[in-house]
Each structure stands twice: as structure tokens, then as C-alpha cells.
């Protein structure tokens, strides 16, 4: 017990000093610097046009319209978050399902069926894997170029526009690997849809 009494005063002083340094000063310094240097990124990469916000470039949304590009599967969560007026807000999470389970097998079969029903011409083509799987966050804003290419004819037909136009838009919203090596090439689904709707150009 004596030994505890011996170290206690220094422990308390040290604890306050560390809370000040690592909690308050560090966080404050990073926040101030971030707001000064990178205001767009630090505030959620929100897409704003003419004083209106059209979502975050980093957060995916659900789509079912044949004329929109579809993203990753989302496990929607409508109950956790509410707006100030009490109306429900949309969020999403991962499935946490085992990819070797029978439940998973059934669900993937349904997802394949849904994609094929929306685009009967593609009956013989295998569906790119990211269109029938949930992402890690449930909020994945991107899909692979293969998954985007798969949807071109459906979008073009639903909108009555040429496939070339859809392809051009997809190309504008495609990011390659970082430094040509890291990660995977991706297509940002929200940006594609905002361009299809004529909001972004």
C-alpha cells in the first residue's frame, strides 16, 4: 500500500498533463489545421452545387431505378438515427454473414435474380461480384469498372440515351489505382447518377 501512496501524486499529475497534451492540445491543433488546410475533406467531402448539398462523395446511397447506376448491396438502417424533426434518417451497415453459409447462398441467388430481372438481355453474363455482395461499411460509395460496365446497357435503355454517353460519364467518374499500384480502380456511383440526372457535369 505504501508503494501505491508513493506513486499516486505523480500519477495524478502525469494523467492531467497527458490528457491536456494528447487529448485537448493535439486534437485542437489537428482540428484547426484541418479546417484551415483541407476544409472540403475535413467536413465530409460534401457535394455542393448552387448552395444545395447533394450527398457526400464518400458515402453510398441505395438505388433501385433502372435509369440509375446501382452500387454495392446495403443493409439499410432506418431506426438508429433521427433528424431534428424526428423523421427517420438512412444509414447502413455490413451483413456480417459467413460467405460459406446456406443463408448467404440463398441471398446471393436472390440478388442475382433481381439484377437479371431488371436487365433480361444479360441473362447469360455472369454478374460481377461486387454487385451481389455487401461492403465492409455498408456505405461503400464505389463499384468496380466491371460492375459499372455490366449496367451500361440497362441504364441507356431506361433513359433512352446512347450507351456511349453512359460510358463517357462512367469514365469521368472512374479513379485508377493510387500511384498505379495501390487499391483497386473504382467508379463513384453517386457522381455517375448526379451526372446522369444532369446535376453535375
Amino acid at each position: 500500500m505504501n508503494i501505491v501512496k508513493q506513486v499516486l501524486p505523480n500519477a495524478v499529475k502525469m494523467f492531467f498533463m497527458m490528457t491536456l497534451l494528447c487529448g485537448i492540445l493535439y486534437t485542437g491543433f489537428i482540428t484547426a489545421g484541418a479546417q484551415l488546410l483541407f476544409p472540403y475533406q475535413a467536413n465530409g467531402s460534401l457535394i455542393q452545387m448552387n448552395e444545395r448539398t447533394y450527398g457526400s462523395a464518400l458515402i453510398g446511397q441505395p438505388y433501385t431505378d433502372n435509369g440509375h447506376m446501382w452500387g454495392r448491396i446495403m443493409q439499410l438502417d432506418i431506426s438508429t438515427y433521427k433528424d431534428v424533426d424526428g423523421s427517420p434518417l438512412l444509414y447502413a451497415g455490413p451483413s456480417n454473414l459467413s460467405p460459406a453459409g446456406t443463408e448467404f447462398k440463398k441471398i446471393v441467388a436472390q440478388r442475382v435474380e433481381k439484377l437479371r430481372a431488371a436487365d433480361p438481355d444479360k441473362k447469360g453474363t455472369p454478374v460481377p461480384v461486387d454487385l451481389v455482395t455487401d461492403s465492409g461499411s455498408g456505405l461503400d460509395p464505389d463499384i468496380s469498372p466491371a460492375a459499372a460496365a455490366y449496367q451500361v446497357s440497362r441504364i441507356a435503355k431506361a433513359r433512352g440515351i446512347s450507351e456511349i454517353r453512359v460510358k463517357n460519364i462512367i469514365e469521368k467518374c472512374t479513379t485508377g489505382r493510387t500511384f498505379g499500384v495501390l487499391g483497386e480502380p473504382t467508379v463513384n456511383v453517386l457522381k455517375v447518377n448526379l451526372m446522369l440526372d444532369g446535376i453535375l457535369s
Binding site: 508503494i3 499516486l8 500519477a11 495524478v12 502525469m14 494523467f15 498533463m17 494528447c22 487529448g23 493535439y26 489537428i30 482540428t31 484541418a34 479546417q35 488546410l37 475533406q41 475535413a42 467536413n43 460534401l46 447533394y54 457526400s56 464518400l58 458515402i59 453510398g60 439499410l76 432506418i78 438515427y81 423523421s87 427517420p88 434518417l89 438512412l90 451483413s95 456480417n96 454473414l97 459467413s98 460467405p99 460459406a100 453459409g101 446471393v108 442475382v112 455472369p126 454478374v127 460481377p128 461480384v129 455482395t133 455487401d134 461492403s135 465492409g136 461499411s137 456505405l139 460509395p141 464505389d142 463499384i143 468496380s144 466491371a146 493510387t178 500511384f179 499500384v181 495501390l182 487499391g183
Partner: protein, 605 residues
């Protein structure tokens, strides 16, 4: 294929290139040498000692050092607990989140103080910004610093001859924080914000959805519903649904994330600002931020191997320990990579789903983000379970049986394949002591390590350190499996369900913190039982390590002769790996056979 292999090589290569110079720098800092940052930081260091009236020459015995660690950690648990159960009444809570329940608050407090960062809560829905930065961020820093400090006490045990003192915990803590962790994380945090990680103090944003969706009053989505955008009326197959609610907006979480994400990665803490951790696009938005966050996981643990070699004036010893860890890590990455890229038959659907690598990552993408694909997800998963980090950028519960098995096994091996900052290496040194003892028995020589004789006292503590993790994991998961409410709350059934449970207790027992997240972790039983396990598996090894350090420091140094067993050659590396694998495998084989192995053999019918 070619790119995937290139990515694996780049990640591992950069890690080694950065770890060696950092290892040397850490050694200089801890010896109090003048380094490049001393010009600016030496006055700060001296200022802290002056303000707090700390005598930096004071030497602590191993018991004083241990008491300092425990009292300091206890203050941490208390503060983080109080912050959570009172957060509704405090500032820094723009979301007006309610107070956290006592059992969850206790679990979270213990979890962050023990460097585990097990998360039974969802950050954006549960914790105020004040709790996150004044509570959790601080613990991310100091729990990591505590690990490094205890490691240095042990290193001094090897260096010192016939002495009592193991250094001064307050001085060690101060130096680690201001010379190593703060500068590293300030740079890291700015890179992360530049890449798109949020860093602000506003309340969450709401943004309009491109396509509003209709839900029932209980929150379930009405599939196939038509929404009239003008009137807001919902119809299904031509019929009006009056009870339907139209959701038009999306929730976008905000907060000071980047500053916390930086240290949770580099301090092997792993507790995400968001519930889904580094898979969340606002916590890890691009492959570049992913590279930085992923390298940070292993940077300090790998560097400390070299620090150890420099400090005991035997560079080869550091390299030998590094080699043993590195070989295990590469094997883990390899098995996981092949297994995840191969996917499962349930996913392939007899060829209806395309999992090739043409214009896409392919493989098992369930629970993985498009921007990371397979390669960046697998390397992260291997790093995070090797180091006791526990952050994830893909959902481990959705890994293939074999991939999930490797993640679990790495934690069960006692978190010594790099492991947590400091604690991974002192854990591995306990295994090294065990190895020289076993090797000594085989050839009939008195075991010695780095010129210090290993006697029954050291052996007892080393064995306890090595067995602490398996013991608490097996007892914990055994008891949990018998509590009726636990199996009922599992996210999957059968062998996978048991894997979820075993994973949970392995994760807290290894002070890792990652999860098979289908397991519902937020119940009083789980919160309390996992808290106790985290405490034992953190503080028993710290006590043991300091006891060994104290005993070694008091011994004389034995001269190296032709008869001394080498602890730097490849034979020793091989023996060390075997001892680690043997203890892990023997302890866990029966449990693993019921979980991931049963599931794996089930898939190859």
C-alpha cells in the same frame, strides 16, 4: 494477379524500410540522446518535469515501476468510465447523445486502457466527441506508451549488472509521448485529413437522397414501392399504403476522427471512431489513406525489434526476433490471400457470379470495400490480427472459413507476431526465454539469454506470461458457451456461430479488439466477462515482465564462450517459431476444430 502480388510486396517492403531507422531513433530517445527533434522538444520535456516536480534521475525498482503502471492505468479506467456515464451533461456533445450504460462504459474504459479497443458500441451512435478525444484518444496514446515503457524496463534488465533500478516510468512515458507518438501522429493525421478523413466538431450532417425510399412504420423497407415525389404518396402494385414513411435524407456522421484514427492505428489500439472502423469511407477514404493507416499498424512493433537489438548492443538479436515474427506474418498473409481470392461455392452460384480478376478485384468481396479489393483488405486483416491492433477495413466475420481461421489463430498465439506496441515484443521475449530453456534442456546446458542466466524464478514468470492468453481465452469462451443467452444472440448458426464466440474471447484475451461482428457484444454478461479477461491478459504479463526485469537487473553478466547457445542464428529462429506455434496449437486445437476447421471441411464436401 500481377498487381496483387506487387501490392503485397510494396506493403511489406515499405514497412521494413521505415522500421529500421525508426528503431534506431527510438533507442536514442529512450537513452536520452540528442536527436533531430531535441532542439524543439527538449525544452518541452524539461518543462513538463519542472511543472510536475518530477525528478528525472530517480530510479524505480520493479515493484515501484509496476505500481506506477497500475495506478496510472486505474486513473485512466476511472476517467474514461466517468466521462461516458456523464457525457449527456458535459460539453462536446453536439449530437445530444445520452449517457452510456454502466456495464458498457466499464467495458469501453477497460478496453481502451488495456490497449485492446474491443468495441461493444457504435462510435457515431454512442459516444460524444468529448468522450472520444478527451477519453479514448488520450488512452490510445498512453496505453501504447505504457507498453513501450514496460518493454524498456525489461531491456534495462538485460543491460544492467547488479542493479535495482529499471528506469523511471514518468520519464519513459513523457519521452515516448513527446518525441515519438505525438510527432508521428501529427504528421499522420494531416495526411489522413488531406485524403478525406473528417476532422471537425460539428453535429452530424443530413443530406438528401437521390432516390427517396419508402419504409413501413417499423422501419423495414417496402420493396417495389412507388413514391410520388410531389405528394409523398406511396403505392405498391397500384394500391395506396397510408402507413408508409418516406425517408428522404441520409445521416452523415461528423467529428474529430482523423486525430483519433492516426493514434489508434500507430498505437496498435484499433478502436475506430466509427462503428465499422476503417472500412468506413469517412475514416479510411482512399487506397492512400489505407496505405498509411495499414503501415502504421506494424510500424512501431516492427521498429521495436530493431530498437531491442540496438539497445542490448546485439543487432543480430533484434534481427533474429524480427525474422521469427516476419516469417509467421508472411505465412498468414499468404494463406489468407489465396483463400479470399478463391471465394466460396456459395458465392460463385455455379458460375452466375463473376469472381475473376478482370476489371475488378474479384474473389470474396462480401464485407470488403471496392476501393480496397482483396489485396489491401487481406494485408490489413493479417497485420491487424498479428499486431494486437484490431482495427479492420473489411468485415472479418464475412471472411472465408480458412481466412477467418488464420485471423483467429494469430491472436491465439498470444499476440507475439509483432503484437501490440511494446507488449508484443515483451511477450515474444518471454517465448524466447522459454525457447532457450527448452533448448538448454535438450543439450544439457544451463539456459542463458543475452549473458543473463535464466533460473526457475524467470522461468515461472515467463511460463505464466506465455500461458496467460490461452488460459483466459479458453476459460472465458468455455463459460460463455454455457450461458444460455450467449449462443442465442449469435449472428450465424452452427460452427460459424461457435467461431464468432471463440473469436470474441480470443480477441479480448489477446488484447486485440477485432471482432466477428455478427456476435452481439453489448450485453451485461459479455461486457463484464470480457472486461475481466482484458484486465488479466494485459496486467498479468506486465507484472511478470517487470518481475523478470527486476531479477535480471540484479544478476551478473556471464561471458560468452564457445559453449554458449547462440540465440541469433537460424536454428534459434526456427525453434522460437516452433515453440510459439506449439503452445498456440496445443492450447487451441480442440476449440478450433469445433469452429473454423469444422466449417472449412464442411465447405469442401
Amino acid at each position: 494477379m500481377g498487381n496483387a502480388i506487387l501490392q503485397y510486396t510494396v506493403y511489406v517492403g515499405i514497412l521494413i524500410l521505415l522500421a529500421i531507422p525508426l528503431g534506431k531513433y527510438i533507442k536514442n530517445i529512450m537513452e536520452g540522446n540528442y536527436t533531430i527533434l531535441s532542439r524543439w522538444l527538449l525544452p518541452v520535456e524539461k518543462g513538463i518535469y519542472a511543472v510536475l516536480h518530477i525528478d528525472r534521475e530517480e530510479q524505480m525498482t520493479w515493484k515501484q515501476y509496476a505500481a506506477a503502471v497500475f495506478v496510472f492505468s486505474l486513473l485512466g479506467i476511472l476517467t474514461v468510465f466517468l466521462l461516458q456515464i456523464q457525457q449527456a451533461h458535459l460539453a462536446g456533445n453536439p449530437q445530444h447523445l445520452p449517457n452510456v450504460s454502466w456495464d458498457l462504459a466499464f467495458n469501453t474504459a477497460v478496453s481502451f486502457v488495456t490497449n485492446t479497443d474491443w468495441q461493444a458500441y457504435t462510435g457515431e451512435a454512442t459516444l460524444s466527441y468529448l468522450t472520444q478525444f478527451a477519453g479514448l484518444t488520450v488512452q490510445n496514446f498512453v496505453s501504447a506508451a505504457t507498453g513501450i515503457a514496460v518493454l524498456f524496463a525489461l531491456i534495462r534488465g538485460f543491460i544492467k549488472v547488479k542493479e535495482q533500478g529499471l528506469g523511471n516510468f514518468w520519464v519513459d512515458m513523457t519521452r515516448i509521448i513527446i518525441y515519438i507518438l505525438l510527432p508521428l501522429n501529427i504528421v499522420l493525421a494531416f495526411f489522413l485529413v488531406g485524403g478525406g478523413v473528417i476532422q471537425n466538431m460539428h453535429a452530424a450532417e443530413t443530406v438528401p437522397l437521390v432516390e427517396p425510399i419508402a419504409v413501413n412504420s417499423d422501419g423495414t423497407v417496402i420493396t417495389g414501392a412507388q413514391i410520388d415525389r410531389e405528394t409523398g404518396k406511396v403505392t405498391l402494385h397500384g394500391k395506396n399504403i397510408d402507413t408508409a414513411v418516406v425517408v428522404t435524407k441520409q445521416f452523415i456522421p461528423m467529428g474529430p476522427a482523423a486525430s483519433q484514427v492516426a493514434i489508434k492505428q500507430s498505437g496498435t489500439n484499433g478502436g475506430g471512431f466509427m462503428g465499422v472502423n476503417a472500412a468506413h469511407p469517412l475514416e479510411n477514404p482512399t487506397p492512400f489513406t489505407n496505405l498509411l493507416e495499414m503501415l502504421s499498424i506494424l510500424l512501431i512493433p516492427a521498429a521495436l525489434c530493431f530498437t531491442f537489438g540496438y539497445s542490448v548492443k546485439n543487432k543480430k538479436q533484434g534481427i533474429a526476433i524480427f525474422a521469427a515474427m516476419f516469417i509467421c506474418l508472411i505465412m498468414a498473409v499468404g494463406i489468407m490471400a489465396v483463400s479470399e481470392q478463391a471465394g466460396t461455392s456459395q458465392l460463385v452460384q455455379h458460375g452466375s457470379v463473376n469472381i475473376t480478376m478482370v476489371d475488378q478485384a474479384g474473389g470474396n468481396m462480401e464485407g470488403k470495400e471496392s476501393r480496397f479489393g482483396i489485396a489491401s483488405s487481406v494485408v490489413w486483416a493479417a497485420f491487424t490480427t498479428a499486431a494486437s491492433n484490431g482495427s479492420v477495413n473489411s468485415m472479418l466475420d464475412s471472411y472465408t472459413p480458412l481466412g477467418g481461421f488464420i485471423a483467429m489463430l494469430q491472436m491465439q498465439l498470444g499476440e507475439v507476431i509483432f503484437g501490440g506496441v511494446g507488449c508484443g515484443l515483451y511477450g515474444m521475449l518471454a517465448f524466447a526465454i522459454l525457447t532457450v530453456f527448452i533448448a538448454g534442456l535438450m543439450i544439457g546446458r544451463t539456459p542463458e539469454f543475452l549473458g543473463k542466466k535464466i533460473e526457475p524464478y524467470e522461468m515461472k514468470w515467463a511460463a505464466l506470461i506465455c500461458l496467460a492468453t490461452p488460459m483466459v481465452i479458453l476459460i472465458g469462451s468455455g463459460i460463455a458457451a454455457m450461458v444460455p443467452s450467449v449462443p442465442a444472440s449469435l449472428g450465424n448458426t452452427g460452427a460459424r456461430g461457435f467461431s464468432e464466440l471463440l473469436y470474441t474471447y480470443s480477441s479480448v484475451g489477446g488484447n486485440n479488439g477485432s471482432a466477428f461482428a455478427g456476435f452481439n457484444a453489448n450485453t451485461p454478461f459479455v461486457n463484464i466477462s470480457t472486461s475481466l479477461i482484458m484486465l488479466v491478459s494485459r496486467f498479468l504479463p506486465i507484472w511478470g515482465t517487470l518481475a523478470i526485469a527486476g531479477s535480471l537487473a540484479g544478476k551478473k553478466k556471464i561471458a560468452v564462450t564457445a559453449g554458449t547457445l547462440s540465440t541469433t542464428n537460424s536454428m534459434f529462429v526456427f525453434l522460437l517459431i516452433m515453440v510459439v506455434l506449439l503452445i498456440g496449437a496445443l492450447s487451441f486445437f480442440p476449440a478450433l476444430a469445433l469452429g473454423p476447421l469444422a466449417e472449412f471441411f464442411g465447405t469442401i464436401r
